[in-house]
Symmetry: C2
Subunit: 240 residues, 2 copies
């Protein structure tokens, strides 16, 4: 239970909000397209891989292991079984490379968490593979900044409602910071919280939304984490 | 935070404690050995697969997706790349079958949880893949019986210590029920709690321990969940 008093609680997404992630996937996609280039053009490879991922999402959930399995499945289908076992071994190795990849923090993250952590309770709310997210958090050396870490399988309204209930957080005193409108912003706005969108330069197709959030005074978009501190001051000051 | 009052908290493992799981893996292993039978004898296949799993455990963690990736990797190695893409597709399908498998409760589980849930706070503590464990819990229709569900990446002393702290549970008022000495019993005994071992007829090699628990009056072994109710009465009555 987080003691909220008169205080605000700040939730942070992890991948592509605190540290780089989508660029690692993008690098893997490049190598994947190259591996299949003698069979299909890049657009066909990408379209088919994405379709496989979406079809498997309910079963696999998010994360690198499910991605790797979907990549193998797609490669076998797209090559009508002509891909070699050795090339499939390369796909497994690509997946392992992703899991073992170093964690690189985004610009301004450490200072921002230090400044805000002194005044507010910080929560980490991330979706994906349990072991992989724990490992990235450990590598980031940011774990101690957070009062609580929530690794969830989906970030929808039900998930945020559960987190608010578990930690006794009034939604109108909650600010969520993240790069995904779909997972970080829209569900929080729908529950009456504040959403701060800090876009990453790459967005996975499954996280893209057309809907522009409408929530007067509760939705903000920043160019970088460096701008978060003064925005939070403004938002939370307003509530006092 | 669980309100403990004078009450005891009961922790339950899930796989092979509340519902069948290892038998699904065993069935998959049989089909895996059959697939590779023209290359190697069963013992070699099993030994090599287990070695791959253990080598990948730190990176993949527990669960079906990591198992499937390790099974593909092992099959390619053991056949020196002669396994066909179509057979690898079969391995992916085997993994999906495991994820989609119905959940079958063990004998006596529902009645026991009903009886004990009326008097004690029940916690579910399970390790593995987040999405898969959530799905199995949903399929089991047991979720509402538990005050809290903890899906963790490892069940060691640090994990249980964290759970005790998060929920304000005094270890000496905690009883853990499970089929794995390594994951359910030994760490809880080490922290001063009570361990109730209810063995399943199959145990994955990675969960086997030689060590016989030594904890006078705090370690019990039962033949079935049906015996749990009266044991808990005895143990908790003792503490009053």
């Amino acid at each position: 239970m987080i003691s909220v008093r008169d205080d605000w609680v700040l939730g942070f997404d992890a991948d592509d909000t605190l540290w780089h992630n989508e660029n690692i996937f993008e690098h893997t996609h490049q190598r994947y397209r190259a591996l299949l280039a003698r069979f299909h053009d890049a657009a066909t490879v990408e379209r088919t891989l994405f379709a496989t991922e979406m079809r498997n999402l309910e079963l696999y959930g998010y994360g690198v292991k499910g991605f790797t399995l979907s990549a193998i499945e797609t490669a076998i289908t797209l090559t009508a079984g002509r891909i070699s076992a050795e090339e499939i071994q390369q796909l497994i190795a690509l997946g392992k490379d992703m899991l073992a990849h170093p964690v690189e923090l985004l610009d301004g993250v450490e200072e921002t968490l230090t400044e805000l952590g002194g005044r507010h309770q910080l929560l980490l709310i991330t979706k994906g593979d349990l072991r992989d997210q724990e490992r990235k958090l450990a590598k980031s050396r940011l774990a101690a900044r957070f009062r609580q870490v929530e690794i969830v399988s989906e970030k929808d309204e039900a998930t945020y409602r559960g987190i608010f209930r578990r930690h006794g957080i009034p939604p109108e005193r909650f600010i969520m910071v993240g790069n995904s409108l779909k997972s970080d912003i829209l569900p929080v706005l729908a529950l009456g919280g504040v959403g701060v969108h800090v876009p990453y330069h790459l967005t996975w197709a499954a996280e893209r939304v057309d809907e522009a959030p409408r929530a007067e005074g509760r939705f903000f978009r920043l160019g970088s984490m460096r701008e978060l501190h003064s925005l939070v001051d403004e938002v939370t000051g307003r509530g006092r």
